[in-house]
Amino acid sequence: MSREKILAAVKKNQFTHAPLPDLEILSTLTATGDDLVQQYTSVASAGGSFVYEVKDLEAIKTILHKEFKPGVKIISGIQELGEYTYAGNVLEESSHSFADAELTILQSNLGVAENGALWLTESQMNIRVLPFISQHLAVVISKDALVPTMAQAYAQIGNADYSYGAFISGPSKTADIEQSLVIGAHGPRSLSVFILV
């Protein structure tokens, strides 16, 4: 069987044990006292995201009312937002049925200032395909949920038992044609990040 053959060949050819390096220094290098909201906003904006600092959910609704026409399909993973279809109520629908979703709003509890990435697990997405298939994506995060770098991000994730999770750092994009940046490849054409301050 190939499994045994491969493992035996690898075992025979792997060399003397080399120890794992210490990651401690890397996670303590970046000062956490910096203004992470400002750093997050500048990096995420450069990556094509729209970043808003808001006081409460009402402020988010006011912005969304301006950006999206009434009547379009909006799915929300945040029950308190009220007026939109709550994702938790449509879990039984097929993933394909969200192909006409105009906007999906999700909650993240971990954002990374150095690269604008937001961590979302399947339980926050409700349906895995939602943050990808929707024409637009909005993510709500508290300013206290921001960490400086990926080192602190993985320290926070620890050994959490998610079934699927993704760091999302902006709208879907490509530069495959002559290196010209185009926003809106296959996934959302925009990412709005609402930071609750």
């Binding site: 491969i6 394909h96 990435a117 699927y164 994009k173 495959d176 996934g187």
Partner: protein, 461 residues
């Protein structure tokens, strides 16, 4: 495949070099990507520490690979993922085909996987009557053009937008003469959305596989891997045995390095962690060796297995930038490809380690500190020793060794050379002399150093 005579890197490069404006554009564009990488790297004071740490983690992986592979397999299985093992490309392709056949599937969507390029999966499945559509925009473009990717991160970097416009007009019905990247990308979006929504099977590559948790991570900017995988009944992920990393927290090192090195972004748009299948769907992982365990046993070359496929060595390489990815006639082009390919077929890829100036820029930008240019130099020695060096080079080297071993022959040879330069420069300044290409031959001195020295001694007496 090695019995098919392929053209050498220099022959293929001279084809690419016929269009000089394109070569200049290619050169400048990749250098611009290299500069974007520099800007990102210089922003992090800990950049060098990150590189060193990543390199050490990979050292640890390569020294314990069999244990990590078993650990990864056990954890993946307990997460509900089905694991397959393939000793070579043929076995990999057969496993993928069987999985599709068993489910009565004859159409599949695929996101970027250089491993499947290495295995020639698309061609194999086509012969079996299975339609495969590549969903990464650059890969879709080269697929429609009937070409392989020319760069592992930027698959169609060798193409101009007007050519892409023509391809889209022919295959996807865009307006004739349309070459605006925005409009062409929108055309591809509409076309591929329909594909994502109608394919029951999706195949993806793997960027990192975590032994500790049995999960694997895929990085894209477009979101094509996720669109395919989340809408399919069966997700097949193909990975080389070297994709393993020990623990989840190590992603905090590699994800900081990968995209900064690749495209000069701080991270890709999507870094997706697949741990368990979605309800009602299946995830299969195919773990592929295909020569990697042999490379692991080659002490001088095993470090090449640390590669995380960022492409930084290509963007910085003066030879790659000016010769184009296709001249390497292998799935992974550029400096890293030139040390990986000879392991698979030393004869077929004997030319690749010579397609380098050994300037060392590749080693300097490598995020996992692979000693790429040292390995290129070492491969040259192995290839010559094994008798696979290019014929003309072997003859020239033999003639040189013979001349240098006889002082009399060396002296008279030098004399003849100087006379030729003086009285018959056309004998060397012509197209038949490969050294003359893009070079003016130097003016020959009147006498050799030896002649000058003994004359001087005579005069002093």
């Amino acid at each position: 495949m090695s019995n098919v005579a392929t053209k050498s890197h220099s022959e293929l490069a001279s084809v690419f070099n016929q269009d000089e404006p394109r070569v200049d554009w290619h050169d400048e564009t990749l250098w611009w990507v290299r500069q974007k990488r520099d800007i990102q790297a210089h922003k992090l004071p800990e950049w060098e520490l990150l590189r060193e740490t990543a390199s050490q983690i990979k050292n640890n992986v390569l020294s314990n690979l069999s244990e990590y592979l078993e650990q990864f397999e056990a954890n993946a299985i307990s997460n509900g993922i089905i694991v397959h093992w393939a000793a070579n490309a043929e076995e990999h392709n057969k496993i993928v085909h069987r999985l599709l056949q068993e489910r009565g599937i004859n159409r599949m969507v695929k996101s970027k996987s250089m491993l499947t390029e290495e295995c020639h999966l698309n061609e194999y499945l086509k012969e079996q009557g299975i339609d495969v559509i590549d969903s990464d925009l650059g890969e879709r473009i080269v697929q429609l053009a009937g070409e392989p990717p020319s760069h592992i991160v930027l698959p169609c970097i060798h193409k101009k937008k007007e050519e892409i416009g023509d391809i889209f007009h022919e295959h996807l019905g865009s307006a004739k003469g349309e070459s605006d990247p925005k409009i062409l990308t929108e055309t591809a979006r509409q076309h591929l959305r329909e594909v994502f929504l109608t394919r029951r099977a999706a195949l993806t590559g793997v960027n990192f596989a975590i032994a500790e948790t049995g999960e694997f991570v895929i990085c894209t900017n477009e979101g094509n891997a996720d669109m395919g995988a989340h809408l399919a009944e069966i997700h097949i992920a193909s990975m080389g045995i070297e994709k393993i990393i020990p623990e989840r927290k190590h992603l905090g090192v590699f994800l900081r390095l990968l995209t900064r090195s690749a495209t000069g972004q701080p991270i890709t748009t999507y870094s997706s962690h697949f741990k368990k299948p979605q309800q009602g769907t299946e995830i299969h992982i195919v773990i592929v060796d295909n020569g990697r365990s042999i490379q692991l046993g080659r002490e001088d070359f095993r470090n090449s297995l640390k590669c995380i496929r960022c492409g930084a060595c290509m963007n910085t390489c003066p030879v790659y930038r000016k010769s184009g990815g296709h001249s390497y006639h292998t799935a992974v082009a550029g400096p890293i490809g030139s040390i990986l390919a000879p392991n698979l077929d030393m004869k077929k890829y004997a030319d690749l380690p010579f397609a380098s100036t050994l300037c060392g820029s590749c080693s300097n930008v490598c995020p996992v500190k692979i000693d790429i240019h040292d390995q290129l130099y070492k491969w040259r020695q192995v290839i010559v020793k094994e008798g696979y060096s290019p014929k003309a080079k072997t003859m020239a080297m033999k003639a040189m060794a013979f001349t240098l071993s006889s002082p009399a022959l060396y002296r008279s040879g030098g004399k003849v050379g100087r006379l030729v330069f003086k009285y018959a420069p056309f004998a060397v300044n012509n197209r038949l002399n490969p050294w003359y290409k893009h070079r003016e031959m130097p003016k020959a001195p009147e006498e050799s150093f030896g002649e000058w020295y003994s004359k001087r001694k005579e005069e002093k007496k």
